[in-house]
């Protein structure tokens, strides 16, 4: 098992390359979810404000 992670002496390079790809490919969808939440929150807030205005 440790031989597998060692990768014939290139483990540090191989796993850091894999980790870079994994990190960015998790970060991108996370940012998209955060963005979606903030856009939806904005739309809801404006909608509530307009409903309050129209009730007056």
């Amino acid at each position: 098992m440790s031989e597998f992670f060692h990768m014939g002496g290139f483990g540090a390079y191989i796993w850091s390359a894999m980790a870079t790809a994994l990190f960015l490919m998790l970060l991108e969808p996370m940012m998209l979810v955060i963005k979606r939440r903030s856009v939806l929150a904005d739309i809801k807030r404006i909608k509530r404000l307009e409903e309050r205005k129209s009730r007056r």
């Binding site: 390359a17 790809a21 856009v39 939806l40």
Partner: protein, 252 residues
């Protein structure tokens, strides 16, 4: 009557109002396919290639993410230009939204290709960076992607920013064939290229399977993130329309 039906469907989904729920249904499917294919591709690449390990230094395994992301960076650029052109010709809002949704995923793929390439270069060439033709042109691709995104966000009027950035994308398309041919050099002594001529026929078949399946997974990942971003852009741009205010997620 078949072509007529096709036409109706086509135009139906070019309207953001109809595209938004369709994209929402497709996103989980693309995520499942992405995880399954990338998992399978890397499994194949790491565990089904034991028999060739004696001849090959193991750093070659970076190939799975490096080649997949580099291919995606170039293909997504072409996809982005295609959407931008459809937008310019037919003046459809959704096409421009798809183009800008594609740009960011393309940028992420370019960064992955450059970073994994630098790590691979350090092990096999002994240097993180060299002004090799492919590296240099790939860096220019990154700058064009960033330029496209920057230009789009610099102009407040979306119609104008869509058109201006679409033109920039079209002009920048020239870099893609240059990247592709940057290594097809008959004599390495003459054109100082560190990258080898790319030939899929020379790649060992199990490595090739791992590489191609991972690439297919990267396509699915790209579809998933592009559709997620397109939905965000649609919500932002159509926030004042009645269909958005009737959405379930807005009324929860």
């Amino acid at each position: 009557m078949y072509p007529l039906n096709m036409k109706i469907n086509w135009f139906k989904y070019s309207a953001p109002m109809n595209f938004y729920p369709l994209a929402g249904k497709l996103i989980p499917i693309f995520w499942l396919l992405a995880i399954a294919l990338i998992g399978l591709g890397l499994y194949w690449g790491f565990f089904k290639t034991a028999d060739i390990l004696n001849d090959q230094k193991q750093y070659y395994r970076i190939i799975y993410v490096h080649v997949a992301s580099a291919w995606m960076a170039m293909w997504l650029y072409a996809v982005m230009v295609a959407w931008a052109m459809i937008g310019l010709i037919f003046n459809t809002r959704l096409s421009f939204m798809m183009a800008s949704a594609t740009a960011v995923t393309g940028t992420v793929m370019t960064v992955i290709a450059l970073v994994t390439g630098a790590i691979w270069g350090k092990t096999s060439w002994g240097t993180w960076w060299d002004w090799d033709p492919k590296l240099t042109t790939f860096l220019i691709l990154l700058f064009i992607y960033i330029g496209y995104i920057a230009l789009q966000s610099a102009i407040d009027d979306t119609r104008r920013s869509d058109k201006a950035s679409a033109l920039l994308a079209l002009v920048g398309l020239a870099i893609v064939p240059v990247i592709y041919y940057a290594v097809n050099c008959p004599d390495p002594n003459e054109c100082a290229s560190l990258h080898q001529e790319s030939s899929l026929k020379r790649v060992e078949s199990n490595i090739l399977i791992g590489m191609l399946v991972t690439t297919l997974g990267f396509w699915m990942y790209s579809f998933a993130t592009i559709l997620m971003r397109a939905r965000n852009i649609i919500l932002e741009r159509e926030r004042n329309t009645s269909w958005v205010s009737k959405l379930e997620e807005v009324n929860r």
